[in-house]
Symmetry: C2
C-alpha cells in the first residue's frame, strides 16, 4: 500500500532510552511514579486544565468517570462513536440508551436525548466530540441544569480542540480521552479524565488504585487503571513535539479541504465558535453507502488505504441490539463515512495526489450512475 | 531502610533497547503485535500450558475470565487475598459471596463454599493459591462436578508453582495471573488468563479487543485489555532470566525456613503433592495481631521493612461490608500475617541477619508477655 490509512510517528529513541535509564535507576516501574506525575503536570499546563487523572486506557477512563461521579443510573449516548463509548458501560452491566445525532455536525443531538427516555441525577449523557468537532456544549449544559443529569464527554478525537478560549477537555462533569497509539497524542495504551470537580478527581484517584485509602483500607470498590512509567515516558517524548505535530496536521487538513472544496464533497459541519479543531481525522460524507464502498475499494486499488470510520451505527451492532430504538438521522448517515489518510509522514504533494484520485474516482462513479439513470 | 520489603529486579537495559528499536522500526506499538505473540508462545512453552491470553492487568484478567466463561451469576471467593480478587467482580456490579478458609493452608476451604450460599452453573468459585500454595484442587473439581459451577483460580502468587507434574496455571476452567511489577515474572503492568477450553480462549481473545470479530463487527460486549508491545518487551527480557530467579528465590525461602525452623514460628502449611512452590512470599503467622504489629514495628526500627500482607480480611473492608457473613476461621488468622523481605538483591547473609532479628525481637516480645502474665 503506497499510502497507509495511519502510521504512528516514530518515538524519539534517544529520549526514551534516557527515561528508561531513570526508571531502572529508581526501580520504580508503576504505581503513580515520577514520570506519570510529570506527564500529568505537563499535560495540565499544555491543555490549561485542572484535575487530570492519567489512566491505563480510554475505555477504563469512561468507567472511572462514571463511578467517580457517583452514578448508578443509565447512560444516554450517540450511535456514532467508537464502540468503547457505549461498551465501556455495558461491560459494567449498566443500562444504556441511544439518542439520535445532529445531521450537520454528526454529534449527539441534545434535543433528541430526552425523546426516548427520562433523565435523572443518577444518569449521564455521554457525548463524543466526533472527529474533534465539539458537541453543542451550551445545550448539554442547559439539559443538565434542567434534569440534574451528569455530562461526560468522550473527547478522544479532540485532544487539541480549543473552544471558547479553552481546551474542550475542560467541559462537562468529566471529559474522557484515549491516549491509544492511533491518537494525536498518545502513550501507546493510556487515557485520561479531566474532572470539573476536585472532589471527583480525588475519589477517582483512589479508585484507579483499587480504592485504597492512605491507611491501605478499601473504602469503596476500585480497579487497577494505573498508567505505567514506561507508557508515561512515551507520553513525555510525544508531548515534546505535540505543538509541531498539531500545526503540521492542521495544515494537512486545510490542504485536504482546499483540494476537495470545489468538488462538492460533504464534510461534517464544523461547530461555530471553535478556536482550533483537533486535526485528528479527515472524514468525508459520501452520497450513499454504495458510493462509499466503491470509493474505498477503488482508492485501495490505487494504493490508498482509507477507513470506514465508523463502519456501523452502535445501536445496530449485535452486542447492543436488544436496545431497539429508531434513530432516523443516524440511519441517513449510516455507511456513508470514509476517513482519508492523515499522519505525520504525509507531504503536501501526497495529499494533493490523494485528493486527485478521490476526485477522479468519484467522477467515474457519479458519471456511471448518471449514465445508468439516463438509460 | 536497610532492607526494603521488595525491590523489583533491574531490567536488562541492552535487551530492552533492542526491543524498542524493533518496535519503532515496525511502528507497531500495540494491538496484539509480534512481541505480545512471542511472549505468549514463550510463556506457554515455559509453563507447559495452552490457551494463554495476555492482557493489560491481573484485575481485568479476572473480569475477562468471568465474561468469557459466559457467567451471569455470583462469585464465591476467599476473604484472604489481594482486594482485586473480589473487587474486579464488584466493579462489574456482579454479586459476591465470601466463604471461609482452611486454617492450615489459609486457602479457600472447599467444604465451606456451599455453607453460606447455593451454587449453580452460572456461578463461579474464585480461589486464590495464597503465597503460591495450591488450593485443594481435587475438592474444587468435585464441587464443580456436583454443582456444575465454574472454577477460576487466582494464580497471581503461583507463577512457578508446579503440582501433579504440571503448572498450577493449567487448573480450573480458567487460571488468572497478575504480571504486575511486584510479581516474580512481570511485564510492569499486565496479566494473563489460561483457559481450559480453546473456545473460551477464542471468545476472550475477541473480548479484550472490544469484541470485534474479523469483519469489524461487535458481536458481544468487550473491553480494551490489550498488552502493549512495550510491556511485552519487558516480559521477554524478564523471562530470559526467570529460571535463575526462581531457583535463587527458592533457595532464599528454604534458607528463611531453615533459620526460623527451630524457633517455633508458624507458616502456612504447604499443600501435599506439590513439585515446586512459587517462591513469591515469605509469610509468617504470628501468635496474635499485637505480636504481629510489635514485630513489624521493631523490625522497622532495625531497618527491616516487612508487609502486613494481608492487612485485613476482604469481607470486613468497607467496600464489601454489605456482604455480612461469619467466617470464624478467617477471623482467627486476621491481622496475624507478616511477610518478610524477598527479592533478588538479598544475599544468604542478609536473610540470616533478618532471621536473627526476627528471633531476637520475638524472644523479647514473648518474654515480656510471659513476665506480664506471671505478674
Amino acid at each position: 500500500m503506497k499510502y497507509q490509512y495511519y502510521k504512528p510517528a516514530i518515538l524519539n529513541h534517544t529520549k526514551l532510552i534516557q527515561y528508561i535509564e531513570g526508571i531502572n535507576d529508581r526501580r520504580c516501574f508503576t504505581n503513580n511514579g515520577p514520570l506519570v506525575r510529570e506527564l500529568k503536570e505537563r499535560l495540565e499546563a499544555y491543555l490549561g486544565v485542572k484535575n487530570l487523572l492519567l489512566v491505563s486506557s480510554g475505555t477504563v477512563a469512561l468507567q472511572v468517570a462514571y463511578k467517580a461521579l457517583g452514578l448508578k443510573g443509565k447512560i444516554i449516548t450517540t450511535p456514532l462513536s467508537f464502540v468503547a463509548t457505549a461498551s465501556a458501560y455495558k461491560w459494567l452491566n449498566q443500562n444504556l440508551c441511544f439518542a439520535d445525532i445532529d445531521l450537520d455536525t454528526l454529534n449527539l443531538d441534545p434535543s433528541d436525548v430526552t425523546k426516548h427516555t427520562s433523565l435523572s441525577c443518577n444518569d449521564a449523557v455521554v457525548a463524543t466530540h466526533l472527529y474533534g468537532n465539539p458537541c453543542d456544549i451550551a445545550s448539554f449544559k442547559r439539559l443538565s441544569l434542567r434534569f440534574e443529569n451528569k455530562t461526560i464527554y468522550d473527547a478522544s478525537h479532540a485532544f487539541a480542540t480549543r473552544y471558547g478560549g479553552k481546551s474542550v477537555l475542560s467541559e462537562g462533569d468529566a471529559s474522557v480521552i484515549s491516549f491509544h497509539a492511533t491518537k494525536l497524542f498518545h502513550t501507546i495504551e493510556g487515557g485520561g479524565i479531566v474532572f470539573a470537580s476536585n472532589d471527583d478527581y480525588k475519589r477517582a484517584e483512589k479508585m484507579v488504585n483499587f480504592g485504597f485509602d492512605h491507611q491501605g483500607q478499601v473504602m469503596e470498590v476500585g480497579i487497577n487503571a494505573k498508567m505505567s512509567e514506561l507508557h508515561a515516558a512515551v507520553g513525555l517524548t510525544v508531548l515534546d513535539d505535540i505543538e509541531l505535530m498539531v500545526d503540521q496536521r492542521c495544515e494537512m487538513v486545510e490542504h485536504y479541504l482546499t483540494c476537495l472544496a470545489s468538488y462538492g464533497i460533504a464534510f461534517p459541519k464544523r461547530q461555530e465558535g471553535v478556536d482550533r479543531y483537533s486535526p485528528s481525522y479527515m472524514p468525508l460524507i459520501l452520497e450513499s453507502p454504495k458510493e462509499r464502498d466503491l470509493l474505498c475499494n477503488m482508492l485501495r486499488a490505487e494504493g490508498i488505504e482509507t477507513r470506514k470510520y465508523f463502519e456501523s451505527l452502535l445501536h445496530k451492532q449485535t452486542a447492543f441490539t436488544r436496545l431497539s430504538v429508531n434513530l432516523p438521522k443516524a440511519e441517513i448517515i449510516e455507511n456513508r463515512l470514509l476517513c482519508l489518510p492523515l499522519y505525520m509522514d504525509l507531504k503536501k504533494a501526497d495529499i494533493t495526489y490523494i485528493c486527485e484520485q478521490v476526485v477522479v474516482i468519484l467522477n467515474k462513479i457519479r458519471q456511471k450512475r448518471l449514465a445508468e439513470k439516463t438509460c
